[in-house]
Amino acid sequence: MSDLADIAPSGTLAQQAGSRPSIRPRGAGIVAQVLPWLLAAAILVAAPLVFTSGTALTMMSLMGIMVVFALSYNMLLGQTGLLSFGHAVYYGLGAFFTVHAMNVVALNRLPLPLPLMPVVGGLAGLAFGIVFGAISTRRAGTVFAMISLGIAELVSSGSNILRSFFGGEEGITANRTKMLRLFDLSFGPQIQVYYLIAAWCLICAVAMYAITRTPLGRLCNAVRENPERVEFLGYEPQAIRIAAFCLSALFAGVAGSLAAINFEIANSAYLGVHQSGVVLLAAFIGGIGTFVGPVVGAVVVTLLQVSLSDLTEVWQLYFGLLFIAIVMFAPGGIAGLALMHGPLIRAGTAHRLLPAYLLALGPLLVMLAGAIALIEMAFRMLVRAGDGTEMSLIGIPLDAAHILPWIVAGAMAVGGGLALRAVLPRVTAAWHEASAAAKEKLA
């Protein structure tokens, strides 16, 4: 799994640059460490004041849940180098235990408020993480990935058998307003649920970041890079993997719990392989080499899921193509791509890249527009043939039965692609020039 280090070439660059400020006195470091979190908290508090619509509020709640889930996943994949295809197991179990706990509390009028419920989900995730972690973490790599897949299939098939707990296909519902009220909060309105999710999201993110700074977090990275050397240092790689696995299951359980509170239902789709796939896509698209990567990925993926599904019916195809493009061309993810420019910006040479980037942007947009037009026209012809062949793309009316739109779209896709290929060497040349200049300035 040492190849995970290669995914984040940006990390090494950023670390080189980042190691310099550590010479500074400690006091300044603490301010610099707290500031991003204060900023994040401010964004979380202010977001509903800026985006006031109901859809925006729902979407931001989903983003908060996904951020916790994706960050917990990255504790495995990014920090410890364990590729899991079954992380939704802990998310789903956290959700189910929360729903049952909510029902028990409401039935017996126990003095427990709703904001404490994610603790139940976290404990459920932790408990199952200990059980499944103990049997699956003996090996990393493909063995671990396959066992995680096997456990995921076992649990999701098992949920269809144990109907009294998992509720079969309908799932189990709960009512979040029937809990003990603190400060007269009913948690009926979505805005209150949003702030509940935002608070837990911030707590979990701080906790997970703090874990990466502990000796355990460092050992996780060491196990990812070279388990054999860790053994020589006197540590047990499996024990470290189990610890990382359990912690990540705990936070996944919290995320599932928040989802259960948000939707007031838990069903078997929560534990499914599809949900595990979504979190993998989110973490990787954002970038698994950095801590902020999964946050970016969670926001982008949720945004795409909600907004693209309104725009086009084949949004999952675009989603898959985006993922493949990231894997092929930017394995550091969106955050990795952005952070690559950090040293250049600090050295003040980033502006030299602008002309080359602008030059490449034109052909890229033309190629994408052509490809999207081709996909949409094919979709209309093949699936929506009953609606007629006349359609409109971004307000441009066209008839997919004619040959002309196809020729134009095809020419745009191919021509844009060829032009992009012709321009790319200039972008790489500009990149090398700018980074060489940056090195000179920093040296």
Binding site: T142, M146, G150, S164
Partner: protein, 317 residues
């Protein structure tokens, strides 16, 4: 009882041979490139749909030959222009690339052929009962499927052990650098193996399509089982894949026909325990037929815990 044993054995061996058609390609690809091809079942699905589409114009037999060739070609192109570029980033991105590919192929198939099953028929020549056991007609098409899979298995064995190409492939499995030193074009061998492997999956798709259901979710249903087969058998081991295919084929087929639960066993010996409520009651009443789909995964987890190399593998995954 005998009827059940004979029919289930026949069906189990048939299902196992179909699994092996796919698992052989998957395990060969793994041992060469060290990457588990997540999209392998998607190529099986493409085979079924291409076979269906071609058979609509030309009849079943041309589809049987043409669809695997086309799918194998697509597979070779995927290796050449996709996987080979991702290779330098390491194994995890390779696995993720095939994961994304499986996702995209499923979406494209849904877009082209829709979500409902297509009407892929058994060819008229083979649409008759071959023989009758205990009053049950056994279709000739199933025997044909069995014959094709066995023939391909034997041909694959012959090519790998008796020909020059087979020797080079076997050598490239273990010592790719040495083979390259000797002047063989190893990347081309990789491309060939990937193309042939996906082509074999497509053959399985074409012959399974009319017998099972040709639908856009068929890859998602079969894919995980395929992983179970190659991992349980031992990654990179062809004989292991063969044994595991038959094992899982038989286990799944027999499980489906056993309508036995804990409650029914107790009832048979005369104890009529009342089913309790809750999770325990669920477990009490669940039949083996209902548990059938999860047996392979249970097997996978147990085998990997006890023996991470799989049953017959000699290298760790």
């Amino acid at each position: 009882m005998l009827e059940l044993v004979i029919i289930s054995t026949l069906n189990g061996v048939l299902y196992g041979m179909l699994l092996f058609l796919m698992a052989s390609g998957l395990t060969l690809i793994f041992s060469m490139m060290g990457v588990l091809n997540f999209a392998h079942a998607s190529f099986y699905m493409l085979g079924a749909f291409f076979g269906y589409q071609i058979s609509k114009f030309t009849g079943f037999w041309i589809g049987l030959v043409a669809a695997p060739v086309v799918v194998g070609g697509i597979g070779a192109l995927v290796e050449r222009y996709g996987l080979r570029n991702v290779h330098r980033h390491g194994h995890v991105p390779e696995l993720l690339f095939t994961f994304g590919l499986a996702y995209v192929i499923e979406e494209v198939v849904q877009m082209v052929w829709g979500k409902l099953p297509v009407d892929y028929r058994v060819p008229a020549v083979l649409d008759f009962p071959a023989f009758t056991v205990f009053g049950t007609n056994y279709p000739a098409y199933k025997l044909f499927m069995l014959a094709i899979s066995v023939a391909i298995f034997l041909a694959l064995l012959a090519v790998l052990t008796r020909t020059r190409v087979g020797l080079i492939i076997q050598a490239a499995l273990t010592h790719p650098n040495m083979v390259a030193m000797l002047g063989h074009d190893v990347p081309k061998v990789f491309m060939l193996v990937f193309g042939v492997g996906t082509g074999l999956a497509a053959v399985a798709g074409v012959i399974a399509g009319p017998a099972l259901v040709t639908q856009a979710n068929m890859a998602g249903l079969l894919g995980p089982i395929l992983f179970v087969v190659v991992v349980v058998g031992g990654l990179g081991s062809l004989t292991g894949a063969f044994a595991a295919s038959l094992l899982i084929g038989l286990v799944q087929t027999f499980a489906i026909s056993l309508d036995v639960s804990v409650a029914s066993v107790f009832r048979a010996v005369g104890i009529d325990a009342t089913p309790s409520e809750g999770v325990l009651g669920d477990l009490w009443n669940v039949t083996i037929a209902q548990v059938g789909p999860i047996i392979p995964y249970l097997l996978l987890v147990l085998v990997l815990i006890a023996r991470p190399t799989g049953l017959l593998g000699n290298r760790e995954a």
